[in-house]
């Protein structure tokens, strides 16, 4: 019966994830970062709460785990716990590798640093560290846990004009101000922990897209030059093609992406009105979604526990 309960929880997690993906589809682009995070976190919450019934004292009056029920429960909990542990290990190692990569890049010339400092002053934020990756590919990414760092490739420094380079720097500064690289890391961790739910893959894609769109808006606010940003994008697209980049770097916010993301960013930058995003509307939606999931999940699981019938019940304090 415990096994049946865990399967019901898995179904609930998949439903929450799927419904969340539908909600994201209906939300205007540029406002979906917070809702996407909720959609990524919701199934983890549902599965975690359901799994907690195996911890003595969290739930009350549980039936003993015996026979096939014991085997099924152990198998399901091991699979879910295993994917969570693997996700954590994978994403921690990715973090370490990115830190190493950042350290391996060379320091930029003083002129490039001065330019970044000037853009940072206009953005009213401290200038982050800047490193240069010696490569002929078009690359601009932001990473670093303790100290945010922008990495640009030599290609960008050589092929972009001054205004385009400033636009790229402003875009990366916006990622730093929004802590996009940390949010994306968290998003990837949550997606990997529930790698078997398609809704999580969609939510992470939406999260990445909206981080880029929102950073474009912020960058245009800093430089007041949407066309310089657009021309830098076209140059990068022409050179790198539509791709997600190297697997390691694709986990970082970058000035590139898939073909349809290039298209969307360009159409917004070239529109007669400068692009806008409302962060508060997205946060409001995310708050409402989080409250709904947080409030409904214990009730749904308690009902599932009664229906299965699992001889367990949630302690009253666990109900929101």
């Amino acid at each position: 019966m415990h096994t049946l309960f865990l399967l019901a929880a898995l179904l609930a997690a998949a439903s929450v994830s799927g419904l969340g993906a539908l909600l994201l589809r209906a939300t205007p682009p540029g406002e979906r970062q917070s809702p996407a995070l909720v959609v990524l976190a919701a199934p983890v919450f549902v599965l975690g709460l359901a799994a907690s019934h195996a911890i003595p004292g969290v739930w009350t009056a549980c039936a003993p785990l015996i026979g096939w029920d014991r085997a099924g429960t152990v198998a399901l909990l091991s699979a879910q716990g295993g994917s969570a542990v693997a996700a954590l290990a994978l994403n921690l190692s990715r973090l370490v590798l990115v830190e190493r990569l950042l350290r391996a890049c060379r320091a930029p010339d003083a002129a490039v640093l001065d330019r970044l400092a000037a853009v940072a002053r206009r953005a009213r934020q401290p200038a982050p560290a800047l490193r240069v990756l010696e490569t002929g590919g078009a690359l601009a990414v932001t990473g670093g846990v303790m100290r945010p760092t922008i990495v640009v490739s030599t290609w960008l420094l050589e092929r972009l004009d001054q205004r385009e380079l400033e636009a790229v720097m402003a875009h990366e500064l916006a990622h730093i101000a929004r802590r996009d690289h940390l949010v994306r890391w968290l998003g990837e961790l949550l997606r990997d922990a529930t790698v078997y739910l398609p809704g999580g893959w969609y939510a992470l894609r939406v999260l990445r897209r909206d981080q880029e769109l929102a950073s474009d808006v912020a960058a245009v606010g800093i430089t007041r030059r949407p066309l310089a940003m657009a021309s830098s994008l076209v140059k990068i697209w022409r050179t790198s093609g539509a791709r997600d980049g190297a697997p390691l770097l694709s986990s970082l916010p970058s000035h590139g992406g898939s073909a349809d993301l290039f298209e969307e960013r360009l159409s917004r930058l070239l529109a007669p009105e400068p692009p806008r995003c409302s962060r508060w509307r997205g946060r409001l939606l995310a708050g409402a979604a989080a409250l709904s999931v947080g409030g409904l999940t214990p009730r749904v699981l308690a009902t599932a526990a009664t229906v299965t019938p699992l001889v367990c019940s949630l302690r009253p304090g666990m109900m929101f």
Binding site: T135, G136, G137, W155, R163, R224, R225, P226, L227, A228, A230, S231, V234, K235, W237, R238, T239, G241, L266, L270
Partner: protein
């Protein structure tokens, strides 16, 4: 297959002449026209070429010796003369020319070569992006003067 010696490419010249001299290319075309494995002597080549290229017999002989040294021909002594066969078929030779050229370019200019290959592989997109970039650059003049 023996090691082919392709060190110089003349990209303005047509076909296999990018890697071979005129006479070398003509001789190889004649060798490749023969049924596979069937040999040909210097005299046979000289006789076939003579009506349109009245060259000395020894010129043909020296050129075929050079082609053997380059790894394109295999020579077998059959009295009273050497018999030559193709050491590599035409398709294989063309593959090697392209391979050598690409390898050299990728070693020296890796990313730039890959970029050019991408451009050639999706010319419609590249053309669209080039037009878009021109348009944006024109509009940028007004952005810079604002």
């Amino acid at each position: 297959m023996s090691e082919l010696d392709i060190t110089t490419l003349y990209l303005h010249r047509p076909g296999i002449r990018a890697a071979l001299g005129d006479l070398e290319a003509e001789i190889m075309e004649l060798v490749w026209q023969r049924p596979s494995g069937q040999g040909i002597t210097v005299r046979q080549i000289w006789e076939e070429l003579h009506p349109r290229r009245p060259l000395m017999y020894t010129t043909i002989m020296n050129t075929m010796t050079r082609l053997a040294r380059k790894g394109l021909l295999e020579a077998e002594r059959k009295e009273p003369a050497y018999v030559y066969r193709a050491a590599v078929m035409k398709d294989g030779f063309v593959d090697r020319i392209i391979g050598e050229a690409l390898e050299g370019l990728l070693v020296n200019f890796g990313e730039a070569t890959a970029e050019q290959i991408r451009r050639v592989s999706d010319p419609a997109l590249q053309e669209r992006l080039a037009r878009l970039l021109d348009e944006i650059q024109l509009r940028r003049t007004s952005e810079e003067t604002d």
